[in-house]
Symmetry: C2
Subunit: 389 residues, 2 copies
């Protein structure tokens, strides 16, 4: 790895024992991650569905390439700068599953296309479509190029981006009306329900995804009315993909967090028919201060994101974790009689939410052989860290 950023100084090197990893550090249990990757790939194959995992979770070209090697058609990203960073690191098929309005960013999309990447993108406005067409035309001049696949996003219940299902026909027809000369083509519907991922009971998630499926069917009817065929419906996440798969409506799954799992997803009741994923992402932390009734560790919310709640201490149900601010965590006995960890002791945290946790770190330390006695095998660079544009 060239020119590691300063934050990485001395964290670990390949071949180090796990005990030598400096803290706090983001550590990937490669054995667990690879089982997660294989389980999801097998699930998609079994259901005859395309898998396009969301790279917003790991932002790491090396992991994207492993997903693709296991059969994924490419990856999703949320931002154009993420696509550019992963393209620079060798990933060749990228779907920006999000709206882009800024002409500067759309020019970067066009530049990626010109460089031979296969790029697709979501839209929910005529302005977005027209500006994309303008950028593509400006970039390619008279030459023909691979068409950009454009997915019309519909709001399936989250109330964030996306047109009303009934409006999908008009926007798809607008894309088609520009013709292949526009450099793009209508490729299907983007239908993702983010809120549904975190509903705790399988029944609640089934209800929400059932509503989402109804919204997709409305959008399909609207497309049908204007005689626009729908090649693909893409969506789904780690909390609900088995429900989308069972619906028969979706053709492509975008799950991201299954790679690592996090405390929040593990708090969900299982979905019927879904494989179970293992925690594969941990923050290694050390006790730096001890009181009579608490220990203080060196990982706070500059080391792990707390937007979906606090981490838990891995393998220590007898310890509670409290927020200690940006750089500290506070560990207390869950009940009387528990021995608190001593000064200098190592603890492992399972982050509340994996995606924004990864985004805090420049490098993930990939270990093999378990957290207790394994060895550092590889350093996984977070290629798209901080790529919010």
């Amino acid at each position: 790895m060239n020119a590691p950023p300063p934050s990485f100084l001395h964290a670990a090197r390949s071949g180090d024992p796990i005990a030598a990893i400096d803290t706090p550090a983001l550590v990937v249990d490669l054995d667990a991650m690879e089982r997660n990757l294989a389980s999801m790939a097998a699930f998609a194959t079994r259901h005859g569905l395309r898998l396009r995992p969301h790279a917003k979770t790991h932002k790491c070209a090396a992991i994207a390439q492993r997903q693709i090697a296991l059969g994924a058609v490419g990856v999703c990203v949320q931002k154009v700068s993420e696509a550019a960073a992963l393209a620079d690191a060798g990933v060749s098929d990228l779907y920006v599953s999000n709206e882009v309005i800024d002409p500067v960013k759309l020019a970067r999309v066009a530049e990626l296309v010109r460089r031979g990447r296969r790029i697709s993108i979501a839209v929910d406005s005529a302005m977005g479509v027209d500006r994309l067409a303008a950028a593509l035309q400006a970039a390619r001049g008279g030459a023909s190029a691979t068409l950009v696949d454009v997915f019309v996003e519909i709001d399936v219940g989250q109330g964030r981006c996306g047109v009303r299902p009934g409006a999908a026909g008009d926007l798809a027809r607008h894309v088609g009306s520009l013709g292949d000369a526009s450099g793009m083509r209508f490729a299907g519907l983007q239908a993702y329900h983010g809120h549904a991922q975190h509903l705790r009971s399988a029944r609640e998630r089934e209800g929400a995804i059932g509503d989402a499926a109804a919204a997709v069917r409305s959008a399909l009817a609207a497309l049908d009315e204007v005689d626009v065929p729908c090649p693909l419906v893409t969506g789904a996440g780690t909390g609900s993909f088995a429900i989308e798969a069972a619906s028969g409506v979706w053709g492509e799954l975008q799950c991201g967090s299954y790679v690592f799992m996090d405390r929040d997803y593990a708090d969900n009741a299982p979905q019927p028919g879904a494989p179970r994923f293992e925690h594969a992402l941990f923050v290694k932390t050390q006790v730096v201060s001890r009181g009579d009734d608490h220990a203080v560790v060196d990982a706070g919310h500059k080391s792990h994101a707390i937007d979906s709640g606090l981490p838990v201490v891995w393998g220590r149900d007898d310890l509670g974790f409290a927020n200690g601010g940006d750089e500290h965590g506070i560990v207390r006995r869950a009940h009387d009689g528990v021995e608190l960890p001593e000064l200098g002791a190592t603890l492992w945290l399972v982050p509340g939410h994996c995606d924004p946790t990864v985004n805090l770190h420049d490098v993930m330390i990939g270990v093999r052989g378990g957290l207790a006695s394994g060895v550092v095998e590889t350093l996984l660079r977070v290629d798209a860290r901080g790529c919010v544009r």
Copy 2:
């Protein structure tokens, strides 16, 4: 600036108009920041107090140097890797106001000392003291070196790090017992009350800091009992420094957030006698999707930290901001009749908490002449971004 990280691609260049800054981007209003810097420097001078601002807020050597040029004695950091990153970028006087137990990190402290930086550090255990002494001795061999100033941290009410006030004498005496040959000397007390910073009423903060002052007096009495003089008491933050200053107990102020201010600190009622600070840190964001009753902007909690609550939309009391996830914010009318911003419109967010927000970005865009019509003057590199070790 050498080798900008990928996240920075195309955000802005010096001389660009503000309208050209790509979104989302972290933008510093240099005029407002400089007024904040001057106000705090004048306050410290007026009260005859040392100012050692906390660089955990900005992690930026260029801002640290401005603070030092205005009279600060140096800066605080929370982590050894932060100290190393700022030392590499030219800052020469750094206080690690936090406990360090790991021998690898303490060896890095010793290396900074060997390279001629003036380093001080907090301790709250004999183990921490002994390991620091061992690291300093291993690094300097027989040669004499500048002594490392060691501050004994006392718990003044936060319940995180620090010894009980009554135990300060024993730990200070332990530091002194090792003699100058240890490479360190007892320099005083670290007494910071983090929770007190965010109590909303001045009266609540006066109560908490009054208790903290009583804890400091107990520690001073414990030092007196073992005949150890206390050269300095250091602590205080942006929410309470005027109260610490009025107490006559503290000799050095460690405020950090005053540089930028954030929504959370602005929610505090003012402290009597304190200057008012202005918002100087903003996230520039763009509307990328519009519904009938909401607009979606391209900044979520990968662009601004939400541990202390959500951002507000600057200058738009008529808009409410709701969490839209990692990469989106949702803007709604605060009351009927408000015109929602159109697709492509720019909004400016005041982050809920400045420190972890800065830590998400590699670069801050420094602008001059106001947010409406100013110009990009400089790019402020976040030198210690991600330096959690």
